[in-house]
């Protein structure tokens, strides 16, 4: 079970600067005359190597956090520093570069391009990173090897199971060696076997020192992380270590 007393900010707060730092982060959506405050001033710091689940019911603001963390959306108030850079000051092109270098996305709907074989899907971030062609193929195949799909390079997404597709997506997230992996409901479209499969993969990546941020509304999934940040109505209501962290 979750230990409510384990609220903390960082394991070694004085040693390293956080990878992710939100300070008074606020986001207000305007649609005509209607205003909706999705984030009401959030403070959050995530350090290198952490495995954090952001947990909350739908409408809690967790998707907004995910979009902000992923540099897909900008804050209306407050500050977001990613790897020490203030992201709010950046323009479209610089944001694209940040997404390419620092973030590896894993989506609920996999978001693979159905016309391309697995390895071509995996190499996409490297194309935009300006990596030469021969090196891309090599690295894409290594990444697929790492997620256990070493024999599926040439398969198109339609020829793979849901779990396998999500593993291709994880390989795509890993291939550019990003600062963190940002997973948005990565098991939302998967059956229980594939869910375990993908979560085990995350455990493994965490064990190897990857920073992982996972957005979910399922407690079972969140408990695989070392730390759970509970969000409700645009505010962080709890931030705690799990049993998995103690183990």
């Amino acid at each position: 079970m979750v230990d409510p007393s384990a609220t903390r900010l960082a394991p070694e707060a004085d040693v390293a600067a956080p990878v992710i730092e939100l300070r008074g982060a606020g986001k207000t959506y305007r649609s005509g005359s209607i205003e909706f405050e999705a984030l009401k001033g959030i403070d959050l710091a995530i350090y290198e190597g952490e495995y954090v689940a952001i947990m909350g019911p739908s409408g809690s603001g967790k998707s907004t956090i995910m979009n902000v963390l992923g540099c897909l959306d900008t804050l209306t108030r407050g500050e977001y520093r990613l790897g020490g850079t203030d992201v709010n000051d950046l323009d479209e092109v610089e944001l694209a570069e940040i997404r390419n270098r620092q973030i590896g996305f894993v989506f609920q709907g996999f978001n693979l391009l159905s016309s391309l074989p697995a390895w071509r899907n995996v190499e996409l971030p490297l194309i935009y990173g300006g990596i030469p062609r021969h090196e891309r193929k090599q690295r894409a195949e290594q990444a697929l090897d790492r997620v256990g799909l070493g024999d599926r390079f040439e398969n198109r997404p339609g020829e793979l199971s849901g779990g396998q597709q999500q593993r291709v997506a994880v390989a795509r997230a890993l291939v550019g060696e990003p600062t963190m992996i940002l997973a948005d409901e990565p098991t939302g479209n998967l059956d229980s076997v594939s869910t375990q499969d993908v979560l085990e993969l995350f455990d493994e990546l965490h064990a190897r020192g990857r920073t992982i941020v996972l957005i979910t509304h399922e407690l079972e999934v969140a408990q695989r992380a070392a730390r759970i940040v509970w969000v409700r109505d645009g505010e962080v209501i709890r931030d705690e270590l799990t049993e998995a962290a103690a183990a």
Binding site: E92, V93, R99, S115, I127, Y128, G130
Partner: protein, 410 residues
């Protein structure tokens, strides 16, 4: 992301949506082929017509009886009598009064039945003088033309057009045979080379007899000295308008007419015919080209339509690419290159189809088609420009999509 990478990405998108790409290319292709063919057909017709008109003879002025005025059209003298006579033609031969006219050929034409052996053939029988061959720029395939002696003696000799000779004698040797015209037996002394046909008559279906023979034997009566047309040859191209002036002044004097607007004859030139015909066909070419250009425009709008559909269909792909680090420029470039690929392949295939059709069709429809390199080059250029310019809007829209909205769309 380099241009080469953008091109690879675009190419794989074009390739993986083969049906959609084919249909788009087809739209452009038809437009381009239509432009090349219509321009080619227009130019070809223009060329055919001027070739036909100049085959009538060069530096030629044609004097016809009757006047053409703006209001009354053609005034044909009184009754059926012609206002031009052989005396007019003889006067025009004078090197004093008409120094710039080098040749005169009067024609007296009636339609008569020719009989040879058991064959009957009705054709236009033309009485004319020895200079006709030169003035009308015709040549003989066999035998000889009417001589001054024949003219002098109103000899019963005839020169046949190639088709007339064919109809009457088939494959037999023609020169030396006899032909009966109006109950008189004529001897065939020559056959003309083929000259095709002009807009009003078949130049190969004629029978030429000496003018004096036509006047005395075939027509007779008060009509005997009348001529239906006088052909004048100017001494050179540059002297055509001088020759025109001389002929007009001389004829007005002979006919005692003071006011040139009241003239009872009309002088026209080949040049005028050529330029009129050229102008008509040039207008036609512009019209056809306009129609073809419209179809090209429709093709272009087709490309834009497909690209817009492509953008909305692939919103998720665009969102994903942006999430993975594609800057707006790379997305815009990808869609622009896609549009350019479609435009260019449509242009090239259309040019190929147009040129092939231009080579094959003349054999089928019997009218020549001139492939104008300018039209081919221009239409390929236009196809690319259309592909790109109609691709700009969809590409800009794609590049502007916010990545989260794009990712969420279904």
């Amino acid at each position: 992301m380099s241009w080469l990478e953008s091109f690879r990405t675009s190419w794989s998108a074009v390739y993986s949506h083969a049906l959609r790409s084919t249909l788009t290319v087809l739209g452009i292709l038809i437009g381009i082929a239509a432009v090349i063919l219509t321009v080619g057909l227009g130019l070809g017709t223009q060329k055919d017509v001027s070739a036909q008109i100049s085959s009538l003879g060069s530096n030629l002025l044609i004097v016809a009886p009757g006047s053409s005025t703006d209001t009354a059209g053609v005034r044909g003298g009184f009754g059926s009598s012609s206002t031009l006579t052989i005396a007019d033609a003889e006067a025009l031969e004078s090197s004093v009064n008409a120094p710039d006219i080098s040749g005169v050929a009067a024609e007296k034409t009636t339609s008569l039945s020719l009989e040879a052996n058991d064959t009957n053939w009705t054709t236009s029988v033309t009485g004319t003088t020895t200079s006709w061959l030169d003035v009308r720029a015709r040549t003989l395939s066999t035998g000889e033309f009417i001589s001054a002696d024949d003219e002098e003696t109103s000899a019963l000799v005839v020169v046949l057009g190639s088709e007339t000779a064919d109809e009457l004698f088939g494959t037999q040797r023609v020169v030396g045979q006899s032909v009966v015209i109006s109950d008189k037996t004529f001897q065939v002394i020559g056959v003309l080379d083929s000259a095709g046909s002009d807009s009003s008559s078949n130049l190969d279906d004629v029978a030429i007899v000496p003018f004096s023979t036509a006047a005395s034997v075939l027509v007779g009566g008060t009509e005997s000295s009348a001529v239906s047309t006088i052909y004048l040859q100017a001494s050179s191209d540059g002297q055509l308008s001088a020759a025109y002036q001389e002929a007009q002044t001389l004829l007005l004097n002979l006919h005692s007419i003071g006011d040139s607007t009241a003239a009872d004859f009309t002088i026209s030139s080949q040049d005028a015919l050529v330029s009129t015909a050229t102008a008509v066909y040039a207008t036609l070419t512009i019209l056809l080209t306009g129609v073809a250009a419209l179809s090209l425009l429709v093709g272009g709008i087709g490309v834009m339509n497909i690209m817009l559909v492509s953008v909305s269909e692939r919103t998720r792909e665009i969102g994903l690419r942006k999430a993975l680090g594609a800057p707006p420029g790379a997305i815009r470039r990808q869609f622009l290159i896609e549009a350019a690929i479609l435009g260019l392949s449509g242009g090239l295939l259309g040019a190929l189809l147009g040129v092939t059709a231009a080579l094959v069709l003349p054999g089928v429809i019997g009218s020549s088609i001139v492939v104008s390199p300018a039209a081919v080059g221009l239409s390929i250029g236009v196809a690319i420009v259309i592909g790109i310019s109609f691709g700009v809007y969809p590409a800009t829209r794609a590049a502007r999509l916010a990545p989260i909205d794009a990712l969420r769309s279904e």
